[in-house]
Symmetry: C2
């Protein structure tokens, strides 16, 4: 059509141009959470680029957890703006772990740091702790391993969210997701799941108790020991120091 009038001298690839346009729409508030992007064909025509380039830009936004593409028409159709950074960051971290650039031990350590900070900083009357208590009751009633683990994820996420810092809870969620595959595979190898589950339950209760006492420091210590103990038992986070660059 116009074959590189614009982006040739800027040495900017076409899909980056599209990306820039969309980012501007977001910054300016013309695109808001839950809103829909123009249809791919319409956007391509409007920006005078090919649909391919528009699609590449959308793939990138999708990978970042900023939009979700849905086929068909009506409710879930079209490309809509969402806000799910945790899943996106988690996938990215997972891939970097696969390249052995990010040691699993460092991820576990970071998780301990963030989660213990969250409980030590949160106020005891934060609503998330009520939710956390409810989840513990549910865990007492569930015997299946999968159910237990799903509730465990929700419990720890609730703790992370109690501090009221969206960035910390987002990163927590993505760290967890990045190593979930490793942890789940090893859970099956635990010597005695029942006794482990019993220990985890009591440790969870102790953490919440410390929080309710207003003793953030104790809560942080308990959380750190809880997480480190679990991964140690599962055989994770033992990467030798010489494996690092």
């Amino acid at each position: 059509m116009w074959s590189n009038h614009i982006n040739y001298y800027l040495s900017m690839r076409t899909h980056e141009l599209v990306l820039g346009w969309i980012e501007k729409q977001l910054s300016d508030g013309h695109l808001v959470l839950g809103g829909r992007l123009p249809a791919e064909r319409a956007l391509a025509e409007q920006l005078e680029v090919s649909r391919t380039s528009v699609r590449e830009a959308i793939r990138i936004l999708e990978a970042m957890g900023l939009v979700r593409a849905g086929v068909g028409s009506g409710k879930d159709a079209g490309t809509v703006v969402i806000a799910e950074p945790a899943m996106a960051l988690g996938a990215a971290l997972r891939l970097h772990v696969a390249t052995q650039h990010l040691p699993v031990a460092d991820i576990v350590e970071t998780r301990v740091l963030l989660e213990s900070w969250a409980v030590s900083r949160a106020k005891a009357d934060a609503p998330e702790f009520g939710e956390a208590a409810r989840l513990l009751d549910e865990m007492d009633a569930s015997s299946a391993v999968d159910d237990f683990l799903a509730l465990d994820v929700a419990f720890h996420l609730a703790l992370a969210e109690a501090a009221g810092n969206a960035v910390v809870s987002t990163i927590m969620g993505s760290l967890r997701e990045a190593i979930e595959g490793y942890a789940a595979a090893l859970t099956a190898n635990l010597p005695d799941w029942e006794s482990t589950a019993r220990r985890l339950r009591s440790e969870h209760r102790a953490i919440l108790e410390a929080v309710n006492d207003g003793d953030g420091g104790r809560a942080a210590t308990l959380v750190a020991a809880h997480i480190e103990g679990y991964y140690r038992e599962a055989g994770l986070g033992q990467a030798p120091a010489e494996a690092r660059p």
Copy 2:
């Protein structure tokens, strides 16, 4: 060609299939850092998909900081595996900040947490501190604002890396990048840059001194005050609590 024999029932999009193949190559060690992916056309033929789908997968990997695509032939040509999660995560965070889903204040708070943890945990004889000291000497000699800020970035990155946790330093880098645009714009508005620079210099020296004394706790306190003070002066991180969801 074969129009959805495979991924129809798996409800998996074609580019995700490509993504999965590449991730497996990474996990299995068939693709290593610095290695090159097969050419797009070759990969498309090998996986029996269109080049379009291969390209969408590569765009995603590029957005995650896992590969870099280069045209031409020879040295920098082809799609090579890299490991630059910081830039990629930074871009993602920046976009989420644009949607106002991640408050700038939370990013600053997280940065304070990670960086103060890093200096408190690092050993005083970590080589990164030597590099940090060298950077400070360079800062003393530089008067231009841009040079000063670039060295400042390098200094703080060196502090973050001193703890030896790749995940923490990566996240630190991306947090910094996500708000760099905001901070840079406000720097020009500082009442008196010269006096600010003088203060920053002395605070930097004090931090390194605490580290050298082996007093990680004091270093952490100083780092926290240093960062918070800077952003407060620049007018960032003041988001009111009611702005949060």
